[in-house]
Subunit: 422 residues, 2 copies
């Protein structure tokens, strides 16, 4: 079964609105075992709409269309469908009753333009919409079964689940292909290095499809398994996940799409440990990430964002001599900052960053992208220096913060300090 998705509307066509409906529909169709081959988006243009519906009717088995069912003049979908299918629009009395009831229930007056919404292409099956005034409908054009829904996401997502997907499952019958997905989240290898390490996957697991997704700064390895036997798919995925994890080692930080900060939070909770941070160049981002996780108040105690040297001395107890001798961006300062955060917060662990996020402030010795990260544990403290070539402030802040969290993660899983490999 091959499906296509059509999103209509000038707002999406012109880029005023990002089309999130199509991704939502694609995900739902793929999970139901339908292969989505193409998405198309066009504006409110009768000729164009009728032409595209005709084209899709010749190509696909299933098509899901959103938008253009509203009451205004630029809502053209029903009429374009009638043209493409060569039928008339006809009043659907049940649809009209439902629209009238919708307004009555809300104490609002129905306008003449809403009456238009009750005219559906002759021969179509009405798809009820209890969430708005526009009913959807199902109709075959060419060889393809079309499902039409309004574009409002709140209405569309509910109609998809309640009206469209059950009908598609019936169409699929015994012909149903399932799709299972496994995401393996990694940090510390480039996309191409990751790709090379898992290059043999295609030979070892010929039934799987591999996808790499750069979700800066993490790289996700995605495994897709398609077939008819759910248990069999799960077994292949489990074997392949074990194999990929063996290739990538401790670069893998999650198998359930968790973020790095959520993984660190889970490890801290499991070990009944707490953390405090001292941030210079990351400017609060480490704390922001850690506190994005619900329940983080259990293990996150304190962060001092100390841009100024004065604050590093007064609040974190960094020695003026250290700053004098090694500079603010140095392993020694980062180490003392981490110790200061740990002490000030009364925490099990202290992490600290001092570096140059840019665009200014770089030197030959310490260019933009240089960061020193300190980690203080109950056993001692150390500072390490890294250089990242991204050359852009917000990316630098992100990779600096993620590296600090990764160092803490490695400490928590007992794997020492080397987060990067060639």
């Amino acid at each position: 079964m091959i499906a296509e998705i059509l999103a209509t509307g000038d707002e999406i066509r012109s880029g005023a609105l990002v089309d999130s409906n199509s991704a939502h529909i694609a995900r739902a169709l793929e999970e139901a075992g339908v292969f989505v081959q193409r998405h198309v988006c066009v504006g409110d243009d009768m000729e164009m709409l009728a032409q595209i519906l005709t084209d899709m009717g010749a190509r696909a088995d299933i098509a899901v269309v959103t938008g253009g069912l509203g009451p205004t003049l630029d809502d053209l979908t029903a009429e374009a469908v009638a043209r493409a299918a060569g039928v008339e629009l006809a009043l659907d009395q049940t649809a009209l009753d439902a629209i009238e009831a919708f307004f009555e229930k809300r104490g609002r007056t129905m306008t003449a333009s809403n009456r238009k919404q009750a005219f559906l292409p002759a021969g179509s099956e009405r798809l009820d919409n209890p969430y708005g005034t526009a009913p959807g409908f199902r109709l075959k054009i060419g060889r393809c079964t079309f499902f039409f829904m309004p574009g409002v996401p709140f209405e569309m997502t509910r109609m998809l689940d309640q009206q469209v997907l059950p009908r598609i499952e019936r169409l699929l019958g015994g012909n149903r292909l399932m799709c299972r997905v496994q995401t393996i989240s990694t940090f510390g290898l480039t996309e191409s290095a990751t790709g090379e390490r898992v290059a043999e996957l295609a030979q070892r697991f010929p039934d799987l499809q591999l996808g790499l997704r750069a979700k800066f700064p993490e790289i996700q390895v995605k495994l897709y398994a398609r077939g008819r036997d759910g248990d069999h798919l799960q077994r292949i995925l489990t074997d392949a996940t074990d194999w990929v994890t063996a290739q990538l080692g401790d670069k893998v930080f999650a198998l359930d799409e968790s973020s790095m900060e959520a993984v660190v939070g889970r490890l801290l909770t499991e070990q009944d440990a707490t953390v405090a941070a001292a941030e210079s160049c990351t400017g609060g981002l480490i704390s922001h990430l850690l506190t994005n996780v619900a329940g983080s108040s259990r293990y996150f105690l304190f962060s001092g964002v100390t841009y100024a040297n004065r604050a590093k001395i007064d609040l974190l107890g960094v020695l003026p001599e250290t700053l004098e001798r090694f500079g603010a961006v140095s392993e020694e300062t980062a180490r003392e900052m981490a110790m200061g955060a740990r002490r000030a917060g009364g925490a099990t662990f202290g992490i600290a960053t001092s570096g140059i996020a840019g665009p200014d402030g770089g030197t030959a010795d310490k260019p933009v992208g240089t960061v020193c990260i300190g980690l203080a544990t109950p056993e001692g403290a150390a500072g390490r220096r890294f250089y990242f070539p991204f050359g852009e402030r917000s990316r630098n802040k992100t990779i600096f913060a993620m590296t600090a969290l990764e160092l803490l993660r490695r400490e928590l899983i007992g794997r020492g300090a080397q987060p990067f490999e060639r």
Copy 2:
């Protein structure tokens, strides 16, 4: 000039990723005066790609394509282009040199798979990509000029501005319908309240098109002027901007798409003032936002992210009696936190937040969405309480942080403290 946009990649096709690139490109093309007629998205499938490129080449004048230029096996765009255009792939020595330099500069080893990225369709013009390893290229297929770019948004958006749009402007030549856009950034009104206040715009300025864009938590009012006389367009836009600003008053914080944190930073710099923060529920987000602005070290001195009460007492000098009597989430505690941040940082201003971002921790008296914000100035300090109905942790953190920055902005422009209106 008619344009089409093509997004490639299995992640987008299958719905694993929402395609925001196409909307970004559509907006940029429409602003440049090019009509975008259709967006298409397909997966990593050679036959399909070559077929669609051929179809687009017969239909459109301009096509912008993203994705499939990476180093891995499923990056097929260059080969599909070669097929559709009937040419070979050829090594582009300049591209190879750039890729090698990219790796050398970062002290990383270039892999064999990256070499593939330097093979471009014969006869194409290379589009340099200083932000990644994949060069783009321009090539005519059929009657249509295609621009190919990587799919990584960070690389794509920059290449679009620097490489693609200038070439499209040259293609347009005298045929160009200009589109001027004015963005008016506001904070403190809902989208519908904003719409009502500027509803008369269509009558007063019939040549302009109005768009409202909710960029949570700010609302942008966008004015579009289209025509051939640039000076005339600019005059209308200036008049309309004055009128809109008069309707929205000091809810308007920027006319140049600056972020709230950049506006606050500019005001602080102008007034030779500095700021320190104390964050509880915002968890470092205020500092993160302020330090996203390049040069913020001139005015941002310190933030204490004090989740624990102990840290509020020890580091900010909040009185234990205040916490005891009023609780951590109270106007009084927020006020003392702001005073403590100002004192600890040695800053002109102190801002502080204490609230309940959720999902847990709400009470009948102080439900999730409650925040107390303190502001300390050279003249004194005050705490204020707000409630937001968003009920979701990350949205709450964002609106809490923005409200704190807005209170500081209002102080800096001498407009007192009331940031919200019905």
